[in-house]
């Protein structure tokens, strides 16, 4: 993949294999963590929940823009947070021994330069420093010469700057290879920090950037080792699983289901979060999300699963009828209809998100609904099979439905059942030439299916890069998969380490365009 390397020159990656660079919005938790890390005060305001594209908030962050309402909220939050930080004793200025008697006090300049460096994740330019020193002077004048008030408002300003509210990681074209953009050391500090810690870089990262120690993959790897040891990494790593597995999206607003209660959904989400946390631990095989027999259950969920009764939340061995994510409430309830199971939707999730297969959308002009069978006359499976015989439907449903039928022992909410519509459930089928009796049989086949590891890597790649991969980038995913499956021991943590040191994370090709711009280009 190397275009050219010479004595002392770095290996230059093939630009076709690199994603474009773009500004990234701070997600709500990144914004909150950053402000709290910078100012040491807790944010009072509730921020709107993050949106997603292709299931990941990181992709929305590089696709969508801030609405006006968010810009206004950032203003209010920054003013409030700065005011609270400066009402503490000692004030942020006092902690640095700066009396700030006048706006011209040299320590004011030093304070803003330091705060700005942490907020912008790079040193301020002289122009920027002057701009915010002007705010100090201007505000001090409004407040009868109170320079401390001026600094407080300048801090509130730095927190509203686009250099804070966006991750400005654009890279710069390499001199000899203008098609390849390399992220600067400071941009790498920011990328690593937001990807692994969901917050602004610490002093050590910024110092490493200042010393030019984030340029090579090996240097990056050294920081990554340190960062993964930090507990802050756990939140970022487990977020991937929570988003990938739809954990937090199971709410009554999103999934109205007869019989569902807020408590039951909360217990299901808690199980999903605990699973997400286990999957990021060292030496854990990431594909255990399919097969684990352990789960953290709240008492109501233990009841719901017919597990041994619990009086408080505990990590327990699941009953034989449950194993892994695909028999959990989150999966079963988020892939269905309100009052009926949907083998098609369950199958679609497995095909798309576990196997990375492609399911085309339904053709136009087909009736998508199914007739209801009177009680005792036909199971859901029989109805589906009878009505999906049309050739237009068959080719796709043959991809999705057979694996979906394996979960017919679980009702619309995920409750275990032996009968469907008064008739015994048939959950048997065939997956890639191997027969199975039910979900318990199918799940190990899925774990061992070829392409499952690669599919997980593909999603981890999208999440970390914040974009859907182009076809030319698939080879990056293949290379990462080889490492993941061999020396990586299918450990998610090791995969992340590999990913953030890889060329696709350290270099870019071009700047992100909008559909309209692309259209003009193509026309």
């Amino acid at each position: 993949m190397t275009l050219g390397s010479g004595c002392g020159a770095e290996d230059v990656p093939d630009p076709e294999r690199l994603p474009p660079s773009s500004l990234k919005l701070l997600r709500s938790f990144e914004y909150r963590n950053s402000v709290e890390d910078l100012l040491g005060v807790e944010l009072a305001a509730a921020l709107p929940e993050d949106l997603v594209r292709a299931n990941f908030s990181s992709i929305s962050a590089s696709t969508d823009c801030y609405p006006d309402v968010s810009v206004e909220q950032f203003e209010a939050v920054a003013i409030d947070a700065a005011a609270r930080a400066f009402s503490q004793r000692p004030t942020p200025l006092q902690r640095r021994g700066c009396p700030a008697a006048t706006p011209d006090d040299p320590c004011v300049r030093a304070f803003l330069a330091d705060f700005g460096r942490r907020a912008f994740r790079r040193p301020l330019t002289e122009e920027e420093l002057s701009r915010y020193l002007f705010v100090v002077a201007n505000v001090a004048q409004i407040y009868d010469g109170d320079a401390v008030k001026g600094v407080e408002l300048a801090v509130a300003g730095l927190l509203q700057s686009p250099n804070f509210l966006y991750r400005v990681e654009l890279g710069a074209p390499l001199e000899d290879h203008p098609g390849v953009r390399k992220y600067s050391d400071y941009e790498m500090a920011s990328r690593l920090s937001y990807t692994l810690w969901e917050s602004t870089p610490d002093d050590e990262l910024l110092e490493a950037a200042a010393d030019g120690e984030l340029s090579s993959a090996r240097d990056v790897g050294r920081q990554v080792e340190r960062m993964l040891e930090d507990p802050r990494a756990d939140a970022a790593l487990s977020r991937f699983w929570r988003e990938h597995l739809n954990v937090d999206r199971l709410t009554l607003t999103n999934y109205p289901r007869p019989g569902a209660t807020e408590d039951l959904y909360a217990a299901m989400r808690a199980e999903g979060r605990a699973l997400s946390e286990r999957l990021i631990a060292p030496e854990v095989d990431a594909l255990e999300f399919l097969t684990t027999t352990r789960a953290t259950l709240r008492p109501e969920l233990a009841d719901f699963y017919d597990a041994a009764p619990l009086t408080e939340t505990a990590e327990v061995e699941l009953p034989p009828t449950r194993r892994g994510y695909l028999t959990s409430g989150v999966f079963l309830a988020t892939n269905g209809h309100p009052d009926k199971t949907s083998p098609t939707r369950r199958g679609k999730f497995i095909v798309e998100r576990i196997l990375c297969g492609v399911v085309p959308p339904p053709p136009p002009d087909v009736e998508l609904s199914l007739p209801e069978a009177p009680e005792g006359e036909a199971t859901r499976r029989e109805v589906l099979e009878a009505h999906r015989s049309a050739p237009a439907c068959k080719s796709c449903h043959e991809i999705m439905d057979p694996v979906g039928f394996a979960f017919e022992h679980y009702g619309p909410l995920g409750e275990r059942r032996e009968l469907d519509n008064g008739l015994p459930v048939d959950a048997s089928g065939e997956f890639r030439g191997q027969g199975f009796q039910d979900a318990q049989d199918l799940i190990p086949l899925l774990r061992d299916a070829s392409g499952v590891g690669r599919c997980l890597v593909q999603h981890a790649y999208r999440n970390a890069i914040g974009q859907l991969e182009t076809d030319a980038q698939l080879v990056n995913i293949q290379e990462l998969t080889a490492v993941f499956e061999d020396e990586g021991g299918r450990e998610y943590r090791a995969l992340v380490r590999e990913l953030v040191s890889s060329d696709a994370f350290r270099y870019a090709h071009g700047l992100q365009e909008t559909p309209e711009a692309l259209q003009e280009e193509g026309a």
């Binding site: 309402v69 701009r131 002007f134 300003g157 400005v168 959308p361 909008t514 559909p515």
Partner: protein, 494 residues
């Protein structure tokens, strides 16, 4: 349009002496104080403002309860193409609430259109041509929900055209929370878009909206507050400079985000000037908020509150562009949560109550569910009627606020069983200062007329100069050009 009219008018002076308004629900013929002696123009001679709005609901309707005439053998073949008929909304269940609220003279219908030359299906193909005039663009695999609007929706086009004339460039409001069917959190499902595959997330809290519009008022005698205002402006000035400095070598998407960001900062900065701090209502009782409780939403209650705040905002000329997303497209909402639809309100006839709790879009695919589609859509239209009625109750000039609005109420397809985009309902509400006629039904020839004509009719009536609505896009395959240069002339005042 370099001078901000609302600053030039000196609203504070005009508003002084209007007296204390305690309750937000008071009708305030506010613009009257800005009018000239004849009540036909603003005091500075400019014409009364026309506001542009979109009122959107998801997942269509029952044609037999909407179309003015229904032929027994073919629901689609109604009327004679190209004709205009007087329209009696009281004759159909869906539109009856409009008639009952006395809105018939304000409302016309346009039917007999298609998004494309060939009939298409599915939600995206209906929503995007209707609201943006353009074909939806697909990036990669469309099934991954990665489709997007290329150009802005009607409300955002109007917002750009009217920028600087009012304190708020546009209001983007929503009632039902939660995403379209089975894709929660997806950013591409909202109604309002700035183009470039970027959608505007609506504001869902009537209370927060009210506070944003009306509560940021600073008493001139409160010195501390006045100082803080000055300080905040100084800060925003620096922030604006930072944005401009960053807006150099960037990709198109990044430039769009920063342009929007700068505009939001400038708008806020202008609002913080003393001139506009006074508002046309005294901060009285804020509206009730109707938050989601345990996942249960009360759409009627929240929509009532939201509509009341919106009506105030329009009457006070705080904005001239809005989007009102009653339900999201492909809505999966469970309408049986609504007290009047689930039997909790005793006065409602059992025939108009839902018999099952379910997710609307999915259930509406089922031919057996269609009577519930009727009930839900009747409910939607009675909410639409309430939004419009509040505007029709506020006098302005020699008419009402609604006389000076041009609102497109629409959905992303016709009937949910087929998801057909033939004859998407286009409801043109408001008289656009006299440029639109009310009380008419125009039925076109759907092989010739495009659904995007509705949007262009609205925009032109409001004085937004556009030669073409949307951009032609074909890319060598797929549906042909949905953009349009045509309006529904039959609905315009000659």
């Amino acid at each position: 349009m370099t001078i901000d009219r609302y600053r030039r008018l000196g609203r504070r002076q005009l508003l002084r002496g209007l007296g204390a308004f305690g309750a937000t629900a008071l009708a305030l013929p506010l613009l009257d104080v800005m009018l000239d002696g004849n009540g036909e123009a603003l005091a500075d001679g400019a014409a009364l403002p026309v506001r542009v709005g979109v009122w959107f609901w998801g997942n269509g309707l029952r044609p037999e309860h909407f179309f003015p005439q229904v032929s027994a053998d073919n629901l689609r073949a109604v009327g004679t193409p190209g004709t205009v008929s007087p329209w009696d909304p009281s004759l159909r269940q869906h539109t009856k609430p409009l008639a009952d609220a006395g809105l018939a003279p304000y409302v016309s219908l346009a039917t007999g259109t298609r998004p494309f030359a060939a009939p298409e299906q599915a939600h995206h193909d209906g929503r995007t041509p209707t609201l943006t005039g353009s074909y939806e663009w697909f990036q990669g695999d469309p099934d991954r929900g990665y489709a997007g609007a290329i150009t802005p929706s009607i409300d955002q086009l109007a917002a750009e055209a009217f920028a600087g004339l009012t304190p708020f460039k546009s209001l983007v409001l929503g009632v039902q929370e939660g995403a379209a069917n089975n894709e929660p959190g997806y950013a591409g499902h909202f109604t309002s878009t700035t183009g470039g595959n970027v959608y505007v997330r609506p504001e869902f809290s009537p209370l927060a909206l009210f506070q944003r519009l009306f509560m940021d008022v600073v008493d001139p005698s409160d010195e501390a507050a006045q100082r803080l205002l000055l300080a905040r402006r100084s800060v925003l000035d620096a922030v604006g400079e930072d944005i401009k400095a960053l807006n150099r070598e960037l990709g198109a998407r990044d430039r769009m985000c920063l342009d929007q960001h700068l505009s939001a900062v400038r708008q806020l900065e202008t609002r913080l000037t003393g001139d506009v701090a006074a508002d046309c209502v005294q901060p009285g009782a804020p509206p009730l908020d109707w938050p989601t409780v345990g996942g249960v939403q009360r759409l009627r209650d929240r929509s009532d509150s939201m509509s009341e705040v919106l009506a105030l905002a329009l009457a006070c000329d705080l904005t001239r562009a809005f989007s009102y997303q009653f339900t999201i497209f492909e809505t999966g909402h469970d309408f049986a949560q609504e007290p009047e639809l689930n039997g909790q309100v005793e006065s409602v006839d059992p025939e108009n109550q839902l018999d099952e709790s379910t997710s609307f879009h999915e259930a509406a695919h089922d031919p057996g569910f269609q009577d519930n589609v009727r009930i839900v859509t009747n409910f939607v239209f009675s909410n639409l009627a309430y939004t419009l009625k509040l505007l029709a109750e506020r006098p302005e000039g020699d008419g009402t606020v609604l006389s000076n609005c041009a609102i497109l109420a629409t959905s992303e397809h016709t009937e949910p069983v087929t998801h057909s985009t033939d004859d998407i309902p286009l409801i043109l509400a408001g008289r656009a200062g006299g440029r639109l006629q009310g009380g008419l039904w125009y039925h076109g020839d759907r092989d010739k007329e495009r659904v995007s004509q509705g949007g262009l009719t609205i925009l032109r009536a409001a004085g937004v100069a556009l030669e073409r609505f949307g951009v032609p896009f074909n890319n060598g395959e797929g549906p042909s050009d949905p953009s349009t240069t045509e309006t529904f002339r039959a609905l315009e005042t000659p």
